[in-house]
Amino acid sequence: MIARLLVGLVRLLFGAYPRWLGSAPGPGQRIYFANHGSHLDTLTLWAALPPALRRRTRPVAARDYWGGGGLKGLIAGRGLNVVLIDRQRSDAEADPLAPLHAALAAGDSLILFPEGTRRDEALPGPFKAGLYHLAQRHPQVELVPVFLDNARRSLPKGSLLPVPFICTARFGAAIAPAPGEDKDAFLERARAAVVALA
């Protein structure tokens, strides 16, 4: 109910049109990884997915921002069914990716912003290592690059109200770590795959 309302509202205000350029929507398990410039990124990418895929796709969100109560908590929890991760590690021993591993093991797909934070630029910055570790642990999961257009213009960092620009999500061809490819090389290739869709 909340999810349907959210999708309807996002569609009406921002369009949230999908462009399947390098891949087609499919039932396989995936990690969609995208550039991050706005709080709308999660909503527009999620709303751009076909309903059947949307039900099995969970956005990854920071506990310090989305984990609270109120409207944000309602949107994140009841609406988007997010996987919360800790950006500030309280326990040095704990694996911050543990909830993501669990979600993937349960058969869900994920939406991930590997930059880790919102940037005020059109093109993404360096990726954090999470994407690489997830790819190593779950080789059956397809890694699909996505470029999100205009969400940053609609609701830039530091503004409270959105301007309704037409937002599109461009899906590229899936990538996978090559045998022997080291972490930094893979992360740079993943970033380039997102940039190539811009």
């Binding site: 369009g15 049109y17 005020d120 205009n150 213009r153 830039p156 503004s159 109200l161 301007v163 309704p164 620009f165 037409i166």
Partner: protein, 323 residues
């Protein structure tokens, strides 16, 4: 619940003027004919992309006519709300294609969340004086001031000009179509919706007929740099045909057949100039279509470009001579 719904619907149906039903019958007949021709041309997958595009357009036309007719039955408020949504979506297409910066955020918030509701509230309220000047005077002065307060002076004039142009076009100009409802024409009370239908039918039919005549007989491009599809033959043939249809529709208007024909010709001319000018704007922004909202037609502005130019002129001519 169902009984009150039935009485609500019968109330609407009985409230509509008789001319509306004749017009509706005519529109549905025309669309049915178009669908039949489209199905015939595309039988067994023939005709390729052009016919597929034609059929997508016809399907979209069915939707547009059904939505408009439903609004007309429900009443002025629904009609005004649909046009407010149209302006909102058209403005969204315009600013999406226009390069804007972080410093434009406050100005754009005002455009979408203040200017659009205000302008259409003024239409609903019938406050002609403020309706006519809110955007061109107060908006014109307020928006650059807000922009200056945000402190970004880079390309200040270009950015503000583009946003104001988009606001005038998509909100101010389009709002003149439902504003026809506020005109008090002696002997024509309560039938303002028919006047709006007259404008929309003539302007849209003119677009379609210019396209059809252009495809069938087009030889000489009118403005090859601006639009590859506008031809002299299309303009003359389609324009004359649409003018004829407009004259033949005099019975839904307060006009004589001759007046209806002359006003239809004016609508055709303005609509043509609107399509041409907006094509040029589109090219200068580096796009082929304004958007992808309406299947086969492109975006909302691709469908409304001629209305933008025709509505204000038609509104003021009718207001000057008939009220």
């Amino acid at each position: 619940m169902s009984e009150s719904l039935v009485s609500f619907v019968t109330g609407l149906v009985e409230g509509a003027p008789a001319q509306f039903w004749w017009l509706l019958g005519g529109l549905f007949g025309l669309l049915a004919l178009a669908s039949a021709i489209g199905a015939f041309l595309g039988r067994g997958g023939r005709g390729g992309a052009t016919v597929a595009n034609l059929n997508a357009r016809i399907r979209a036309w069915w939707w547009m006519v059904v939505v408009l007719c439903a609004c007309f039955l429900v009443g002025p408020l629904a009609t005004i709300a649909v046009f407010a949504l149209t302006s909102f979506l058209a403005l969204r297409e315009f600013v999406t294609l226009t390069p804007t910066r972080r410093g434009d955020h406050a100005v754009l918030l005002l455009c979408f969340w203040v200017a659009v509701p205000l302008q259409y509230w003024l239409v609903y309220d019938g406050w002609y004086g403020l309706f006519a000047i809110a955007i061109p005077v107060y908006g014109f002065l307020l928006l650059p001031a807000v922009s200056a307060l945000s402190g970004d002076t880079g390309q200040f004039l270009e950015r503000n000009t583009k946003i104001q142009w988009g606001l005038m076009l998509t909100v101010y100009c389009i709002s003149h179509a439902p504003a026809l409802l506020m005109l008090q024409i002696p002997g024509f009370e309560g039938r303002g919706l028919l006047l709006l239908l007259f404008l929309l039918i003539v302007v849209q039919l003119s677009d379609v007929l210019q396209y059809v005549f252009g495809k069938l007989f087009g030889r000489h491009l009118l403005a090859p740099k601006v639009s590859p599809s506008k031809t002299v033959e299309g303009l003359v043939g389609g324009g004359l045909a649409a003018t004829g249809v407009g004259a033949a529709l005099w019975w839904i208007t307060p006009f004589t057949p001759l007046q209806a024909g002359a006003l239809a010709a004016l609508i055709v001319l303005c609509g043509f100039l609107g399509g041409l000018a907006l094509s040029a704007v589109k090219r200068s922004l580096g796009a082929k279509d304004w958007g992808v909202m309406i299947e086969g037609h492109g975006g909302m502005l691709d469908r409304m470009d001629s209305v933008c130019f025709a509505a204000p002129v038609f509104f003021h001519i009718v207001r000057y001579f008939f009220t």
